[in-house]
Subunit: 255 residues, 2 copies
């Protein structure tokens, strides 16, 4: 037969679908692509375009970055924004601004322990759902997203950081993720660490973590143990199933 | 062979794809679905949630509907909004609000010839990219979208109204679409009308249009003529191609 898609000849062993199912799948693909186009144009419509303008029109609040938590001095120019946008994206900003707290009355929100660049990227994300990430920026934005409960940004940073996980950064990432309640990274890092337990105890970061936060180390061992028990149970049930399917004398006997 | 998708047997004549292409198509579908999920969550993030709250927090402008264009009295309560959102979605609002015109200074934008319900739906669309349409509402929103240059909403209304086109409403829709520069509806209505030319001249709406705006009627006849010429040319070239492929004596002779 000839494949309708790649036009190559194939034999019965390599058969995929019948013509009808191929046509249906093709239609489904077209429909999905149309849905993507619709959604993309919705995103383009809902994004705020004037973030690139200076000054930001109709701004009614500014955010100030402060690198040093003990000082209230700003470490860069302020980032103008709109109360309505901040309140719509973050329940923390909403509570802060709606309840006539200091920030609402003064029109200035001070954000501690953050650089001007990270703050600007954070505010920009609230307007556009877009950010240009590297590992450092993803960590900064994850911290802000957690603090101001911007779940969409937190998911985005977690996905990025999980994609950058490797054995070298796994322990540091695991510790960081625990501090900032980033469960997806915790799970992915644990999976990676428990696959390499033979190399774990020689790592410098491991020894540091035992000193600094032994409870986190305990969780690694607990995850490892639980993985071992699961694997053993699976092997066991696969073994039983195997014996059950092919009993030596034709009877269903479980060994 | 057995179809991997529907599990039915089929013969070589009904062969669709080989297994490899089936697997690839499956992966593509999964990827498209993941992209759709990502985009949907982006749309949910970018939409303004607090439109349902009363009062709208941090509103700095109100819109007033006025049914009667000769009077400036409002025909319903005002619709609160944010200058930043209006300016981001509509270049007309942006110019109006940024240039310290009356509307910007007073914080009130009067919208003539529109009902309160339509105005509320219009403003709601600017915040959410969503509207609940029937034919009447789609017409009202298309007019507002055209007036304030909100292309995304105009496309949405046009798509809806094209889906509702039929022979009964085709002439009215054609006239309406011309008045409001809705090219997609004009094209779709013309296609429908020129398919039913034998019934056209007996229609009451036709006779009215000849009286009121004969240029629009001329355009219908021009479209019909152009369609006829195209069809004739296609038939002609198909006829020639047919003769060329099967010449009676095996020679390539064009008749």
């Amino acid at each position: 037969m000839k494949c309708i898609s790649c036009q190559e000849d194939y034999d019965a062993r390599d058969a995929g679908t019948c013509k009808e199912c191929y046509m249906e799948a093709n239609e489904t693909e077209e429909e999905l692509k149309r849905e993507i186009d619709d959604l993309k144009s919705k995103v383009a419509f809902l994004k705020f375009s004037p973030r690139s303008l200076h000054p930001i029109p109709f701004s009614d609040v500014v955010l100030l970055a402060s690198d040093d938590p003990s000082s209230s001095s700003s470490s860069g120019p302020s980032v103008p924004a709109h109360k309505a946008v901040l309140a719509s994206r973050s329940p923390v900003f909403r509570a802060m601004l709606e309840n006539e707290m200091e920030e609402s009355l003064s029109g200035t929100i001070k954000i501690g322990e953050v650089s001007y660049d990270a703050l600007r990227a954070f505010v920009n994300y609230l307007y556009t759902a877009e950010a240009c990430l590297d590992e450092e920026m993803a960590c900064h934005l994850l911290i802000l997203a957690e603090k101001y409960q911007v779940q969409h940004l937190k998911d985005y940073c977690q996905m990025y950081l999980v994609s950058k996980l490797n054995w070298d950064n796994s322990i540091v990432s695991y510790t960081f993720a625990h501090q900032h309640n980033a469960k997806r990274i915790v799970d992915a890092a644990l999976a990676l660490i428990t696959e390499n337990m033979d190399k774990l105890t020689t790592r410098e970061e491991y020894m540091e973590l035992v000193q600094k936060d032994p409870r986190l180390v305990v969780q690694v061992y607990e995850a490892y143990l639980s993985k071992q028990i699961n694997t053993a149970a699976q092997k066991d049930s696969a073994g039983r199933a195997g014996l059950e399917v092919k009993p030596p004398n034709g009877d269903h006997v479980l060994y």
